[in-house]
């Protein structure tokens, strides 16, 4: 019995809890991608770099606060600066839409043109982030790092294995829950949210009903930039901030959006967790779990790791390919053309 408890604690510590936190981060990112897709109808390749930009603004603000000795101790200072980061990302997204995307929208350009344009935008965001903050790893987490320390857990329960619960992980889940709940309330209950969904379902019909397309597009960018910043800051608090990693997050985020059914907000959340758990679950070395449940003479020699961590992108990709092959509309039947 105790062995089983130990095995479960190890599993929770290294797979379940990190998986939930990572899943929440991916879900927030995928929600942004899927909203842009639903309303503007293109896959936004600049989304990862928009995340990086919002996070960068938050980090710069956090440093300024830290230098002035302002903080909210048990919680990370970055939380205080989130509104500033969000405002910066929203301003950037709206500015980009005004200068770049609006032109193509008026021309009714093909979706693939939008995708290429978003690649150009990605270059520019990328350069901005690197210009302001550089390419190195930045850590900006402060405040209380742990809610439960592994040592305390061991003394508390008398088990051999400790369970560590980091505050950034709990924070991620709480913030993501609040953000997703607020988003769904907005989309389902408010007039503007309904207008957005109507616009996404049938543009012409929505226009005939007197919905203002400019407003819908603007709200979409505001939401996408907000979600992107939240996802980016939470990911940065949980791991660390490095501009190139944010570009690479694009793949799991796209995978999450497509797996769930692109254009479907609920699908993005489901997809985020599917991708996160597959990635963490397949790249974890299960040796420490197995040692409690498998008799010694049956223990495998190696680490019992299904896939090396270096191949974590392959997991998102394989999920993506399986979905494209078996169910191109995604789990929740999103759009497909």
């Amino acid at each position: 019995m105790e062995n089983l408890a130990n095995a479960f604690v190890v599993l929770a510590n290294f797979v379940l809890i990190p998986g939930v936190a990572y899943g929440a981060q991916l879900a927030l990112g995928a929600l942004g991608v899927t909203l842009i897709y639903a309303v503007l109808r293109f896959s936004n390749f600049a989304h990862g770099d928009l995340m990086a930009f919002g996070t960068m603004a938050t980090i710069l603000g956090t440093w300024w606060l830290q230098a002035n000795g302002i903080g909210i101790h048990p919680l990370p200072t970055a939380l205080l600066m989130l509104p500033v980061g969000i405002a910066a990302a929203v301003a950037l997204a709206l500015g980009t839409d005004r200068v770049v995307y609006r032109f193509y929208r008026r021309r009714k350009a093909a979706p693939v043109v939008f995708v290429i344009v978003s690649v150009g935008v990605m270059f520019v965001y990328n350069a901005l982030v690197r210009f302001f903050i550089g390419v190195e790893d930045q850590r900006f987490e402060d405040g209380e790092r742990f809610i439960i320390r592994a040592r305390d857990f061991e003394t508390l329960t008398g088990l051999d294995e400790g369970l560590a619960l980091r505050s950034s992980q709990v924070l991620t889940v709480v913030v993501a829950l609040v953000a997703v709940a607020a988003l769904f309330w907005f989309l389902q209950r408010t007039r503007t949210g309904k207008a957005m969904r109507a616009f996404s379902d049938n543009e012409d019909l929505a226009l005939l009903s007197g919905i203002d397309p400019k407003r819908v597009v603007m709200i979409t960018w505001v939401l996408a930039a907000t979600l992107a910043t939240l996802a980016g800051v939470l990911y940065g608090l949980d791991k660390s901030f490095r501009p190139f990693n944010y570009f690479q997050l694009l793949l799991p985020i796209f995978a999450a959006a497509i797996v769930g059914g692109i254009g479907k907000p609920v699908g993005a959340v489901v997809g985020g967790f599917v991708v996160a758990f597959s990635e963490v679950g397949l790249t974890y070395a299960y040796r420490r779990v197995l040692q409690y449940v498998v008799p010694e003479d049956l223990m495998p020699d190696g680490l019992a790791q299904l896939l090396s961590t270096d191949y974590k992108f392959a997991v998102s990709f394989i999920i993506l390919v399986l979905v494209l092959l078996l169910r191109p509309t995604g789990i929740l039947r999103g759009r497909v053309i």
Partner: protein, 441 residues
Amino acid sequence: MSPSVRTPLFFAIMAAALLAVGVFQSWTLALAILNLSLVSAIMALGVNMQWGYAGLFNVGVMGFAALGGVGAVLVSMPPVPGAWAAGSWDLAFAALAVLATIGAALLVTRLVPKGRRTLPIILVLVIGYFAIRYFGDRATEAVEGYEAASLGYLGGLGLPVLLGWVVGALFAAGAAWLIGKVALGLRSDYLAIATLGISEIIIAIIKNEAWLTRGVKNVTGLPRPAPYEIELQQDPGFVDFATGLGLPATTASSLAVALVYTALFSLVLIALLALSERALNSPWGRMMRAIRDNRDAAAAMGKDVTRRHLQIFVIGSAVVGLGGAMLVTLDGQFTPGSYQPLRFTFLIWVMVILGGSGNNMGSVLGAFVIWFVWVQAEPAGLWLMDTITAGMAQGDALRAHLLDSAPHLRLFLMGVILLVVLRFSPRGLLPEKTGGVPRKA
């Protein structure tokens, strides 16, 4: 300006810019830019085939270029018999396990009726996975353990590197066929996302499977298709020739080697250009453009759109792979860590869009211009920052930061070039020639 004036004029300007680099900076630099421009031009031609002829958006150029490099390494490097001896049996069994798994999976899809396949296929794949891992892990351990510091990989075939260019192209074509089978025929964004994914995975595999290409330990000293500088410097005939030109033997030898590459690359580029021009102006090329411009109409005329897309996707990727193999040959080393998507995927895209999608000469010109700007933007950015911050104190933190950030200016520049061209001149510097009859201006 008619195309017949525009094309030579722009190429003449480009040549003048390169000559200016030679005169004012150095001839070595001018030749280095020229050689990399030629390689980039070949990659841009490949992307232009996919995007310009057929409208396929491939964001995995980096992966196909890297596969080309793997081809060059595996063909040209000398074999490592010790590593083969250490891991050969396990390696053979691992290969057998891979083949058996694929075969069994195919057999299941043949024999078992649709709807009841999922379980047996999963079973086959799981058993296959453990068999491959069992032999594969033992083989990689043995191979990578063999003189790990200097070798630790299987080596290549020890054949001429030029053959490696063909093999590199074939590797890229194979990967493109696989990915095209899955993602073509769905909406265009999906191909983009799928190619982005496959390129990241290819790089991850190349970095980690050290038994194949030494991974992040890099393969250096690839055999060259050109003579070595040191040989030329020891050749009395060459030294006499260099002194006759008034050059020191060291400079002359490096220039001579660079010129050999230039000649080789130009030959490949001209051959490719001639072939693609012919293809584009043949019934096949017209069909491709018809599919690009209106796939429904083309499908209604009985063209198999997905099949044609797969064909051009494979051909274009093979050309990119060829470029990748040439690049590795030029560098003389294979460094997986140097494959960055911004440099290898998106920069090539800027070349194609700037040059004029659909026009082969345009892609070549775009490659020359963008590579030139890319190389020259770094010192220019530094100079700009230096000028802006000249008034600040020497040790000023902001000044140091701005000077450090100067290299990132060129990313910004590339993004702005792409956006400006797409907006104000979407047909590029050398617009595509449309129709059989030249249009009136």
